[in-house]
């Protein structure tokens, strides 16, 4: 995202996303290793399995905090537009794919694919809006 890279709100957002991304990588690796090599009771398994997802949630929180902290109204509006496009695209794709899955016309995908798709759509929306001069 090239929006106001020098502005304090964007610097804070970038820092939070970097920390959450590193945490996600470490937690995912750790959870995969732990659950593969250790026999743990179900409550512990659930707790370990939750951790990588919580790191992704932290990225969503960082986005929300950016919208609150960004004082430039145009940059804020542009990010909101990006997020709306991402949400619309993700919901549409997930809905269509859901029916393909139900009728066994496509392989089942893990639910966290929705988050991956949303981030992908966010990037595409940003690029398209930039090209359109929005």
């Amino acid at each position: 995202m090239e929006i106001g890279t020098k502005r304090p709100a964007m610097r804070a957002y970038s820092r939070r996303v970097l920390i959450a991304s590193i945490a996600y990588a470490l937690l995912l690796f750790g959870a995969t290793y732990a659950l593969k090599h250790w026999a743990v009771a179900l409550p512990v398994r659930i707790l370990i399995a939750l951790l990588p997802g919580l790191a992704i949630v932290a990225i969503f929180v960082a986005l929300g905090r950016y919208l609150v902290e960004e004082t430039d109204e145009y940059l804020r509006a542009r990010m909101v537009r990006q997020m709306l496009w991402a949400t619309g695209g993700t919901l549409s794709a997930a809905t269509v794919y859901g029916f393909l899955d139900v009728f066994e016309a496509a392989p089942r995908l893990p639910l966290y694919s929705v988050a991956i798709l949303w981030f992908f759509c966010l990037g595409v929306a940003g690029a398209v809006l930039r090209l359109r001069g929005a």
Binding site: I3, G4, R7, T71, D72, E73, Y74, L75, A77, R78, G133, A134
Partner: protein, 63 residues
């Protein structure tokens, strides 16, 4: 809406970055307002008017 932001900026020999700094907004915001891609909110319009010491109607006009 139309605006005379570019003209007023040029009269003072300010770049978009200069104007952005004075308004505490991004250069992208100034560019978007000047090119008509974005209409500023009322508080920002008042800040612009105050900066140029002009009434809002002297800077922004309806289509």
């Amino acid at each position: 809406m139309n605006n005379r932001l570019k003209v007023l900026r040029a009269e003072r020999d300010w770049s978009q970055a200069d104007l952005a700094e004075r308004l505490d907004v991004s250069r992208q915001s100034v560019n978007a307002i000047e090119t008509g891609r974005y209409d500023p909110s009322l508080p920002l319009a008042f800040r612009i008017a105050r900066l140029f010491d002009l009434p809002i109607e002297a800077i922004f006009t309806t289509d």
